[in-house]
Amino acid sequence: MTLINSKLKTQNSKPTKPHIIVRDLTMAYGTNVIQRDLTFNVNQGDIFIIMGGSGCGKSTLLRHLIGLQTPAKGQVFYGDVSLWDMDPDERERFMRRFGILYQSGALWSSMTLAENIGLTLEEYTDLSHSEISEIASFKLALVGLAGFEDYYPSEISGGMKKRAGLARAMALDPEILFFDEPSAGLDPISARLLDDLILELRDSLGSTIVVVTHELASIFAIGNNSVFLDGETKTMIATGDPKKLLAECRNPTVHAFLTRGEPGKG
């Protein structure tokens, strides 16, 4: 069976310039290919969704975008520079422009929340201690955790860890924010609040945001661009605005995913 690649181009009214450009990316663990020939653009100010069924390589794609895993083939460009052609030191410096919210929060367990947020500020800015702790408190307040500065990650709940992780990701006011399954393990209302927060961040800071998720509600609420990875054919089968994909994409897998149709919703 051949699947037709239905690549829909985003036709936004305002001209946008691509922020992240992925070209012919092939990802593999050893000889085991996860996804091949991925080609898509993430535009400045997009909320870009990486979606697809469980185990199709969404998080792996994220790890390639943020410089944690080397591609088997292909390129990831940020503007004009290729992430994987930089030498390691340069890449390390470049990665400071990213803010990343990991699936489990990944807060440093030996530090308090304020120290978690303050660490990168201490390293990369000349701010004084009191200024850093003010910023940390402010970021915690933004995610609804005012007053939790001196708590250790093990002392707070899963949802709070996620929010604290988000506060840490925002510490350096990054150009690009990456979210790995932000709403997984959150109750519907918290998930909704997190979505609102993501939209707010894009609108107020103008950050580009990349979200790995398979929560349909979030996908339609926040996404304005996306890529759909298929585990069966091991490549992308659609890209574009998820709402347009729902209306126009005739690929059965994409359609089934976006409508929760058919058994095995993915």
């Binding site: 790890r63 943020i66 410089g67 944690l68 390390e92 410096r93 990665m95 400071r96 990213f98 990343i100 990991y102 699936q103 489990s104 990944a106 807060l107 440093w108 367990s109 030996s110 660490l119 990168t120 390293e123 990369y124 840490r168 069966e232 058994p263 095995g264």
Partner: protein, 384 residues
């Protein structure tokens, strides 16, 4: 929704009847649960192969009692066999629930290449694999030592990034907190050395030399080796578990993407802390060991405290103590390296953390023993 109906407690039964035009009717009766003794599938196979191959199989389940996965797995196997032989299976006669579950089981076809292949390798291939793996692990170790050296040089030039408070905390954990166990172990080692030696020395009335024996043995080798082994089990394991768990929680990834090198931030303070604290602990263990010997001498062999003290003082040279301290420093570096290396290599599961911890202790102890041998030979050659 029809629940598995509850009929009498009859045991599971299987009987067959043939209808015209190659239709085989399978009658299921009684309870078909995993706790019942189910009829073997071979009964059906025999029946199917008897005479003309049927075209279709239908079920009659009106006498079927309770059923669960026992019935379903039986049916799945049956359907698989029938599809190989091109026999149609009519599921209409089965209970509604069973029909739906069977439909679910066959709804998503097995993905090609998803099943793990249990490849049996030949002895030669396995040997080759192990050799390659061994070479790889050596290479990883050397790379790790290289990275640590780079981080160390960065620290000397003041560019390494780690928190002073972390270093102090680790120093406390692997130094002061280890004092009780080090005291106990080294007093006992001192006692044992004194007892073992005294049996020989007593035979020619040279009990006073217990002091020489214990003092020199502790200072030169025993204190450092025992402290090293205790720290490998205590602190090396804790380093591996700590860093391994951080690996599982993506904390190491978070450090990397924040542009903070885990080598500088996690590994460097641990190696520094242990290589400072192990010699200090060894010095303390020397003292405790001598105390152990003193107890045996004073209590068991009527040597006075002053005599024992003077004998120890005259026999124990600074060279002996130095050799012990240098060994301890080397052990400290080795144990910390082993712990951090295994932690950084840790996979992303709970069992991987366990493996990392085990491996850290084994690597630590083996490297202590090897290093002791090397140091002893070197001292011998140099004549110290």
């Amino acid at each position: 929704m029809d629940k598995p109906s509850e009929k009498g407690q009859i045991s599971s039964g299987l009987s067959f009847s043939r209808q015209a035009e190659g239709i085989l009717v399978i009658e299921l009766a009684g309870n078909w649960t995993i706790n019942d003794k189910l009829p073997p599938l071979s009964d059906v196979q025999k029946e199917v192969e008897k005479g003309l191959l049927p075209v279709q199989i239908v079920f009659d389940a009106k006498d079927l009692g309770k059923w669960d996965s026992g019935l379903l797995t039986f049916l799945v196997k049956l359907i698989e066999i029938c599809s190989q032989k091109d026999i149609q299976v009519q599921k209409d006669g089965l209970p509604q629930g069973a029909q739906r579950l069977l439909h679910l089981a066959f709804a998503v076809p097995e993905r090609k290449g998803d099943r793990k292949e249990s490849s049996r390798l030949s002895f030669l291939a396995k040997t080759g694999d192990s050799a390659v793996m061994f070479w790889k692990s050596i290479f990883e170790m050397i790379t790790f030592v290289g990275q640590v050296s780079v981080a160390f040089i960065k620290m000397l030039t003041g560019k390494a990034r780690f928190r002073g408070s972390d270093l102090l905390l680790i120093i406390q954990e692997c130094g002061a907190d280890a004092l009780p166990i080090i005291s106990l172990i080294s007093i006992l080692v001192g006692l044992i050395l004194a007892f073992v030696g005294s049996i020989q020395l007593k035979m020619f009335g040279a009990q006073i030399y217990i002091a020489d024996l214990v003092g020199i043995a502790m200072a030169r080798a025993m204190a450092a080796v025992m402290t090293g082994i205790v720290m490998a089990g205590r602190t090396g394991a804790s380093f591996a578990a700590r860093i391994g768990t951080m690996q599982v929680n993506e904390e190491i990834d978070a450090l990397k993407t924040s542009g903070i090198s885990p080598m500088e931030f996690l590994v460097l303070p641990r190696i520094l802390a242990l290589s400072i604290m192990l010699p200090l602990l060894t010095l303390y263990a020397d003292l405790m060991g001598i105390l152990g010997g003193l107890i045996v001498g004073v209590v068991g062999f009527d040597i006075s405290f002053i005599e024992y003290y003077n004998e120890t003082k005259s026999s124990l040279t600074l060279t002996n103590i130095w050799i012990g301290l240098v060994s301890a420093f080397v052990f400290g570096v080795l144990v910390a390296l082993a712990g951090c290396l295994r932690g950084m290599q840790c996979g992303r599961s709970a069992s991987a953390v366990g493996d990392a911890t085990t491996s850290a202790v084994v690597t630590g102890i083996v490297s202590i023993v090897v290093a002791t041998a090397v140091i002893t030979v070197v001292c011998n050659v140099l004549g110290i």
